[in-house]
C-alpha cells in the first residue's frame, strides 16, 4: 500500500495522477477462512482491521451483500459523542471517542473527524434535571460535559433562537466539546483500505444465505450467493438485518428493525459551528464540510426493512428545526433517505458470544452506531480473537436479557442517539 501524504499528492501532480492505486483489492473468495465477518459496514470492516492489526489474524473475509459502506455506515448523520449515563455505555463510547481522535493517523486516511462540540438542548425542568445528572455522571467518570445557560448556548451557536416566547423555549444546554462529526464514507473506505493492505479479503455483492453447522452445533461456514465458504469463527455485524442473519443459525435476538430517516439541505456557506440535538422535540442538525445542513429525524413506529420511512416523520422534524433556528426556514432540502436500525429493548447494543459455538454477534446499535464504529470494531475483534468479551464490553452480552441485567439508557435518559 502506498501511503497517502503531501509528498504523494505532489508526486502524482507531476505525472497526471496516473500512479494512484486501487484502495482495496476485490479478490475471489477462498474456500475457507479463519474468520468470516458478515457485513462490510464500518463495524465489520473495522473488526477485520483490528483482527489483523492487534491479534495477528489475517486470514479473514468480510462478506457484504451490497457494496461496502452502503448500509447504515453511509446513511447516518455522523454524530460522535460519549456523554451516556451508565458506566457500560460510557466505557464503550469513550473508548470509541479516544480511537476517533487518532483514527486518521492510524489508518493513514483522512476520516475528517472534527471535534466541534455536541450540544443537547434542554427545554423544560425534566430535561434540565436529566442533563445535569448526565453531566455529573460523565464528569465523575472523566468524560467532559458541561452545562450552558441559554445565553452561553447562543454564543456558541448563533443561529439558535433563545427567546422566551419561542415555540420551544430553551432553558439551558449540555455541551460535550470533544464530540463532533466525521466523514462516514471515509471511515468505511479507510478501514477497508487498511484491512485489505493487511491481507483481509473484502467480498462485495455476495449475500450470505445460510450458516452451516457441524454435528456439535458449531459453525462450519456460510452459504453465500458465491457458494459455500468455510470458517472456524463467524462474526455477525449486519445492523438492521442482524435478526435475519442470526435466524440462519437458529438464534433469536431481541431486536426490532425500524427505518430512521435523515435529510440534507442545499449547500450553504459555513453558518453552523457544531452539532445541536433536541431530544424533546426530536431534531438534530449539523453542517457538513460541503456546506449541507445534515438533519436527523426520528424512527418510524413499526418494523420495516423498506429503507424509506414516512413523510410525517421528517415533516415533524423540520417543523422543530424551523422553530429552533428560524434563520433556516427558507432553506431547501435536497435529499432524504432512510436506513434500517436494529433496536434492542433497553436501547443498548449487544456484543458477545451466542449459544452457537464459533458464532459472535455485534448488533443492536440502533439509532446510534456510527459514533461507536472504532470502539465497537476494536472490541468485537478482541471478542472474536479471544473468544470472550473485552472488559469494556463485558456488560453488553446477549445473556443480559435472561439475567435481567439491562443497561437501560432509553428509560434513564430519553436520549436520541
Amino acid at each position: 500500500m502506498r501511503r497517502y501524504s503531501v509528498f504523494a499528492v505532489a508526486r502524482e501532480a507531476m505525472r497526471a495522477h496516473k500512479g494512484w492505486e486501487a484502495q482495496w483489492a476485490s479478490p475471489e473468495p477462498r474456500s475457507a477462512y479463519d474468520v468470516i465477518i458478515v457485513g462490510a459496514g464500518g463495524h465489520g470492516l473495522g473488526a477485520a482491521y483490528y483482527l489483523a492489526k492487534e491479534h495477528g489474524i489475517t486470514n479473514v473475509a468480510v462478506i457484504e451483500k451490497g457494496w461496502l459502506g452502503g448500509g447504515n455506515t453511509g446513511r447516518n448523520t455522523t454524530i460522535i459523542r460519549s456523554n451516556y449515563l451508565y458506566e457500560e455505555s460510557m466505557d464503550i463510547y469513550e473508548h470509541s471517542l479516544k480511537l476517533w481522535e487518532g483514527l486518521s493517523q492510524d489508518l493513514n486516511y483522512n476520516v475528517m473527524y472534527s471535534p466541534r462540540g455536541v450540544m443537547m438542548l434542554s427545554h423544560n425542568t425534566h430535561d434540565m434535571q436529566s442533563f445535569k445528572r448526565h453531566i455529573n455522571a460523565n464528569r465523575l467518570y472523566g468524560i467532559d460535559n458541561e452545562w450552558l445557560t441559554p445565553e452561553q448556548a447562543k454564543a456558541y451557536v448563533p443561529p439558535l433562537d433563545i427567546a422566551k416566547t419561542a415555540r420551544y423555549p430553551i432553558n439551558g444546554a449540555a455541551l460535550q466539546r470533544r464530540g463532533g462529526t466525521a466523514r462516514h464514507d471515509a471511515v468505511a473506505w479507510g478501514y477497508a483500505r487498511a484491512a485489505s493492505d493487511r491481507g483481509v479479503h473484502i467480498i462485495q455483492n455476495c449475500e450470505v444465505t445460510g450458516i452451516r453447522r457441524g454435528p456439535n452445533g458449531e459453525v462450519l461456514g456460510v452459504e453465500t450467493s458465491k457458494g459455500f465458504i468455510g470458517a472456524k469463527k463467524i462474526g455477525v455485524s449486519a445492523a438492521g438485518h442482524s435478526s435475519v442473519v442470526m435466524e440462519m443459525a437458529g438464534v433469536r435476538v431481541p431486536l426490532h428493525s425500524t427505518p430512521l430517516q435523515a435529510l440534507v439541505s442545499e449547500p450553504l456557506k459555513p453558518i453552523f459551528p457544531c452539532v445541536v440535538m433536541s431530544n424533546t422535540v426530536h431534531a438534530y442538525i449539523s453542517q457538513s464540510d460541503k456546506g449541507e445542513l445534515v438533519i436527523g429525524a426520528g424512527t418510524d413506529q413499526y418494523n420495516s426493512y423498506s429503507q424509506t420511512g414516512g413523510l410525517q416523520i421528517i415533516t415533524h422534524t423540520l417543523d422543530a428545526i424551523c422553530e429552533l433556528f428560524p434563520i433556516f426556514r427558507r432553506v431547501k432540502m435536497m435529499r432524504q433517505w432512510g436506513g434500517i436500525t436494529d433496536n434492542t429493548p433497553d436501547r443498548s447494543p449487544i456484543q458477545g458470544i451466542t449459544p452457537v459455538p464459533g458464532l459472535f454477534v455485534n448488533c443492536g446499535w440502533g439509532t446510534g452506531g456510527f459514533k461507536a464504529t472504532p470502539g465497537s470494531a476494536n472490541l468485537f475483534a478482541h471478542l472474536i480473537a479471544k473468544g470472550e468479551p473485552h472488559r469494556l464490553a463485558a456488560g453488553l452480552t446477549l445473556d443480559r436479557f435472561r439475567t435481567g441485567r439491562l443497561i437501560d439508557e432509553a428509560a434513564a435518559a430519553a436520549v436520541a442517539h
Binding site: V244, Y302, S304
Partner: protein
C-alpha cells in the same frame, strides 16, 4: 404514511391515528412465576422481526381505541389484511406474500407498462 384499515371502525384511516403495538399472537404464560429465566426472556424480549410477512398488533388510539391484528409485508410495508383481536391468524389474499423493494426507476416503469 400508511393507510390502515381498522376492522372495528371498518374504515381506512391514516397512520397518524394508530399506534404500533409489537408482534401479535404472543400469549402471556399463565404460570409466569413458575417458568424459567430462559422462558421468560423468550416471552418478554425475543421477537421474530421478520423480513417479509409479519403478524403484528396495532391500536386505533385516536379512533375507537381498540387493539387489532394485522398481517403486513415489512419489505414493501403493504398491509395484507387486518382482523379483530382474539381471532386466529387469517388466511392471506392471493397476491405474493413478500415483494422486493422497488429500487430503480426502470423497475417501476416496467410495472406501469
Amino acid at each position: 404514511m400508511l393507510l390502515i384499515h381498522c376492522p372495528y371502525c371498518e374504515e381506512d384511516r391514516s397512520e397518524l391515528e394508530f399506534r404500533w403495538a409489537g408482534e401479535a399472537h404472543i400469549a402471556r404464560p399463565e404460570n409466569i412465576s413458575a417458568i424459567s429465566d430462559e422462558e421468560f426472556a423468550e416471552y418478554f424480549f425475543l421477537r421474530n422481526n421478520e423480513k417479509g410477512l409479519t403478524y403484528e398488533r396495532w391500536r386505533h388510539i385516536h379512533g375507537c381505541g381498540r387493539f387489532f391484528n394485522a398481517a403486513r409485508d415489512t419489505v414493501s410495508d403493504r398491509f395484507l389484511t387486518t382482523y379483530k383481536a382474539g381471532m386466529p391468524k387469517q388466511p392471506l389474499p392471493e397476491t405474493g406474500a413478500s415483494e422486493k423493494t422497488v429500487e430503480t426507476y426502470e423497475a417501476t416503469e416496467g410495472d406501469a407498462r
